[in-house]
């Protein structure tokens, strides 16, 4: 007896089951990271010491301890921490004496704009260079691209940043070496995309941050293109007498883009985390710089909140990419019903 009226309903149910299973896995990861963040918050350094002064009497310390709920059983404290975190309350920063959530929100636009520009840079140049070096494998420019990609993978991010600053700020005096330039307020969001100095300030940090991803995408596009150009349907398209240009860009490139978009999506999380280094080199006022300063000053609430935030971003991106992948590539749907 058929369980579903038609194949469409069956597929939709399978998609739903898959989505729910992935969402549950994502929640599991978040819970695990939450436990680590809570453990840091609670056990690495006594929160009471951060609030009272050194000569506070013991009775008063106990009072503070009770008022913070630190004498409750640990699971209760964890539950409370998690509930508060879910509402966006991550406690008070030790060094700034301000709510951590507000500090992170203030700096989020800077990081997200930088990550966005870096991704656009990596995708544009990565795909262009990848296609070129696949189509003209033995040309001098392809060899140059290969050398650039080797350097991009071997050089530490901060050295690339310093090199760019030396070239374009110190020697040529063309681009600013630190900060975001002038920004425009759009509600709570501050944007550097609409002023000339803001755009100029974005160039070097974006290149520094995106270079590694660019080499990754370039290698991927090149390998995929070489693979696809050898396949039967390209040979068939040639046999039909289609123009080379149409074959390369209409047929070949289109089929290499699915893995490229997957990788670029998955790398978005890595870009946000790697922004820590780039933001320090360029004194970019984003979340990464805040985190580095928190590590130096042992500001545990900021560290814990940043960890949770990055985990949430990673998990969300992975989830979206997983689901999009099954939507884009019908071949994957047939495997959905098998337990993963």
């Amino acid at each position: 007896m058929p369980l579903f009226k038609n194949a469409d309903a069956a597929r939709e149910t399978a998609m739903l089951a898959f989505t729910i299973r992935r969402a549950l896995q994502a929640l599991g990861v978040l819970l695990a990271v939450g436990i680590i963040a809570f453990a840091m918050f609670r056990f690495a350094g006594d929160p009471v010491n951060q609030i009272v002064s050194i000569d506070t009497p013991a009775a008063e310390r106990e009072e503070v301890r009770r008022s913070l709920g630190l004498d409750d059983p640990v699971p209760v404290q964890f539950g409370r921490y998690f509930l508060r975190a879910a509402q966006g309350n991550f406690g008070i920063s030790y060094q700034f004496r301000q709510p951590v959530a507000q500090l992170l929100i203030d700096r989020m636009p800077a990081t997200l704009e930088l990550a966005f520009c870096a991704t656009v840079f990596a995708l544009t140049f990565g795909i262009l260079m990848g296609v070129y070096s696949a189509l003209r494998r033995d040309s001098l420019l392809s060899k140059l691209f290969q050398a650039v990609s080797l350097v991009g993978i071997s050089l530490p991010t901060f050295l690339i940043g310093i090199l760019l600053i030396y070239l374009f700020s110190v020697t040529l005096g063309l681009l600013p070496s630190y900060g975001r330039g002038d920004t425009v307020r759009l509600g709570w969001w501050t944007s550097g995309l609409f002023t000339l100095s803001g755009l100029k300030a974005l160039i070097m940090p974006s290149i520094t941050l995106g270079l590694f991803q660019m080499t990754l995408i370039m290698r991927l596009v090149r390998a995929e293109m070489l693979e696809v150009l050898r396949s039967d349907y390209i040979r068939f398209a040639r046999a039909r007498g289609l123009k080379t240009r149409a074959i390369h860009f209409g047929h070949a490139l289109k089929n290499t883009l699915v893995p490229v978009i997957t990788i670029a999506g998955l790398q978005l999380g890595a870009i946000i985390a790697f922004a820590i280094i780039t933001e320090t080199v360029f004194q970019w006022p984003g979340m990464g710089l805040l985190f580095v300063q928190a590590v130096q000053n042992v500001d545990i609430p900021i560290m814990a909140a940043y960890l949770l935030l990055v985990a949430a971003i990673f998990v969300t991106i992975n989830l979206i990419v997983d689901i999009l992948y099954t939507v884009v590539d019908p071949r994957l749907r047939s495997t959905l019903r098998q337990p993963v």
Binding site: V29, A32, V33, M40, A44, G45, L150, V151, I153, S154, L155, P156, T157, F158, L159, I162, L163, I165, Y166, S169, V170, S177, G269, A270, A273, F274, I276, I277, T280, F291, V292, A294, V295, Q296, V298, I300, M303, L307, V310, A311, F314, V315, N318
Partner: protein, 316 residues
């Protein structure tokens, strides 16, 4: 009888060195000029780090040898350069060449110890997960999965911050070095654990493991004496490539200000210090440590890539 003995002697298997020189791996090494150059550079760096005390013109950690009058001298080919400061001096009159040689030593020390720690942790956990299976396997591999979603540098920074908080504010250089090794080890163990677990799952169904079980050897002995030697091959390749990563991670942490202090600088610390002088025209304070770091990492990466291709026949 005598004849038979000589034939046995002649058929004696060739020694380790002879076998190594005759192998495919060696042949692929001599075929690639780039790999040979990279290996030479790597060995040169290792030697320089080991012999830093003998070859460097100055002891950069001895304040008595530093003179402020020698501070910020350019390299020797510049008109204002002075002997014996080949690569110039920093703001404290420290000879850059000596500082780089000693910094190289710290960077390599942290790199090697970090990789050793990560490998030990990863191999142990991978062995346990693969051999015991069940709950142990699930638990270890789930932790590995969660950790793999985060970049190593983020984990290293977090471990560093937590360690500082637990041990209390200011740390002496030796403790900082241990914290660095610990944080690098904790950020890189996953790859070893996954690889070893994969190999163990294959090995544990083979006859020699069944035989060892049959004669009643306890599980720890079987794991350490029989399974472990058979799963170490791929670990060597990962360790080589990871050495470059560990050195970069240490340099990055030190550059971010969470690593080695100014009194005992690694290459990353030297770059952080030099970065402050970029705008006042003293480019050599940041350039030479940067070049040293870049060359070192590039050379080790090239050797690692070659090793991966040479030891993995499927990729050939």
């Amino acid at each position: 009888m005598a004849d038979a003995r000589t034939t046995t002697l002649a058929a004696k298997p060739p020694g380790f060195l002879a076998r190594a020189l005759d192998s495919d791996v060696w042949a692929s090494f001599t075929r690639s000029k780039l790999t040979m150059a990279a290996a030479a550079v790597t060995i040169l760096f290792f030697a320089a780090a080991l012999l830093a005390g003998l070859v460097s013109p100055q002891d950069p950690f001895n304040p008595a040898e530093l003179e402020l009058i020698n501070s910020r001298l350019p390299p020797i080919w510049d008109a204002e350069g002075q002997r014996p400061f080949m690569l110039g001096t920093d703001d404290q009159g420290r000879d850059m060449l000596s500082a780089i040689l000693y910094g190289l030593r710290i960077s390599l020390l942290v790199g090697f110890m970090g990789v050793a720690f990560a490998a030990t942790l990863g191999i142990t956990l991978g062995l346990l997960a693969g051999y015991l299976g069940g709950v142990t396997d699930t638990l270890i591999m789930r932790i590995a999965d969660v950790q793999l979603t985060f970049p190593a540098i983020l984990i290293a920074l977090l471990v560093d911050g937590v360690a500082k908080s637990v041990l209390g504010g200011h740390l002496d250089p030796a403790t900082t070095l241990s914290v660095l090794v610990f944080s690098i080890g904790l950020s890189f163990w996953v790859q070893y654990a996954r690889t070893v677990r994969g190999s163990v799952l294959v090995e544990k169904n083979k006859d020699y493991v069944a035989a060892a079980r049959l004669i009643g050897l306890p599980a720890p002995v079987i794991m350490a004496r029989h399974v472990l030697p058979n799963v170490l091959g791929p670990v060597l390749v990962i360790a080589t490539i990871n050495l470059a990563l560990a050195i970069i991670t240490e340099a990055t942490l030190s550059f971010l200000g969470s690593g080695m202090p100014d009194t005992m600088p690694s290459l990353g610390t030297l770059i952080r210090i030099g970065n402050n002088y970029l705008f006042s025209g003293e480019w050599w304070i940041v350039a030479f440590p940067g070049i040293a770091l870049a060359l070192l990492v590039l050379a080790i990466n090239l050797v690692g890539d070659w090793l991966r291709d040479a030891l993995n026949p499927r990729l050939r």
